[in-house]
Symmetry: C2
Subunit: 207 residues, 2 copies
């Protein structure tokens, strides 16, 4: 993947918004909130301003004018440069066609699940299942409401994806729990149910 000079995903959102019309950072923030962007891109004040600063430094945006309203701090309104527009289009396409190398926490934690007993693991998985079901229900409700207001499906497509992946995770969690309960991953060690943990003698695991 190309090494983006500004890699924070907030910058993608900023470029997208400026492609619609010039804005000052605070308006970007408000617009993003209204559109639910913070559900998929971590938004916080400090990062937004420093990301805009970075975009400026690399010539993707330029200040158009600065104004002030009453005694509020001064506002700087930014517009995208041609290079900024090109960067946006190129970056967006790359994000779609090339899977990013990411490190979600859950699979990482699974790598150490041997440190938790099978019974306790089953209980923890139950709690996770509860949380995810709740998240899915909430997201579904939000989607239904937005659709009922006349918003096209294409604007909700990222929520569709997230719900789909969450449901896949639910399926996997239930199957994993079943495998624990049915003893397909465990053995009896002096009366206790423990993970079946055999390791090749030489640890020759790198083909």
């Amino acid at each position: 993947m190309a090494n983006r000079k500004v890699s924070n995903m907030l910058a993608l959102a900023v470029l997208s918004l400026l492609n619609e019309k010039p804005m000052h950072p605070y308006e970007m923030s408000a617009t993003m909130k209204q559109r639910g962007i913070p559900d998929v891109i971590k938004l916080n004040n400090g990062s937004l301003y420093s990301v805009v600063e970075a975009l400026l430094k690399h010539g993707w945006v330029v200040p158009l004018e600065t104004s002030r309203e009453g005694k509020h701090p001064e506002r700087t309104i930014y517009a995208p440069t041609d290079a900024g527009k090109a960067e946006f289009h190129d970056w967006l396409r790359e994000l779609i066609y090339e899977p990013a190398k990411e490190y979600p926490h859950f699979p990482a934690a699974l790598a150490f699940i041997g440190h938790v007993s099978p019974q306790e693991t089953a209980g923890l998985l139950d709690q996770r299942i509860g949380f995810i079901r709740k998240n899915v229900a909430e997201r579904r409700a939000g989607m239904d409401y937005a659709a009922s207001q006349g918003l096209s499906r294409i604007f909700l497509i990222e929520a569709e994806f997230i719900v789909h992946q969450s449901e896949a995770e639910l399926k996997w969690l239930l199957a994993f729990k079943e495998d624990i309960k049915n003893g397909r991953l465990t053995e009896q060690v002096n009366g206790e149910t423990a993970w079946h943990m055999s390791v090749p003698p030489d640890e020759e695991l790198l083909p």
Copy 2:
């Protein structure tokens, strides 16, 4: 979720390794690589040393001894404290039962897909599908090899999860492509196929 004093997942791996036996950072790094940890936790030199430093500062680990081999730099061997062991167990459990709030790139990019034409999107999705199929095949091969060497399934459980989620994504990508091709998301705008993009008049999208 509890605010971990050291939140980098590398720290979890470090604590896990030190729970087995005291080590110096370079040995941790080598052991992690041998076990395939870098597939699920981003490992890099600089981060490892600063994470160990942070663990030390917060009292999760202590230096046991420092030694040197020839003219190589000095090595500091660390051991976990009781607090460090407790932190490890608590953190690991939390990661299992509570879904983390994460921001993967793909759904974020989907939120801006309106900026790419339906036809081009279909092409990009095809490329993504190709990449993911390749990743799945490679991971499967690695799992099969490890299993053939006698490694228990529980040590491969994170790879199982990742493959499962990747296959779910593939399914979704194919369905999305179908919806584009069948015109379930598009309309004709002066001869061109474009996304159907209606927005409620008032943008009253926050219930």
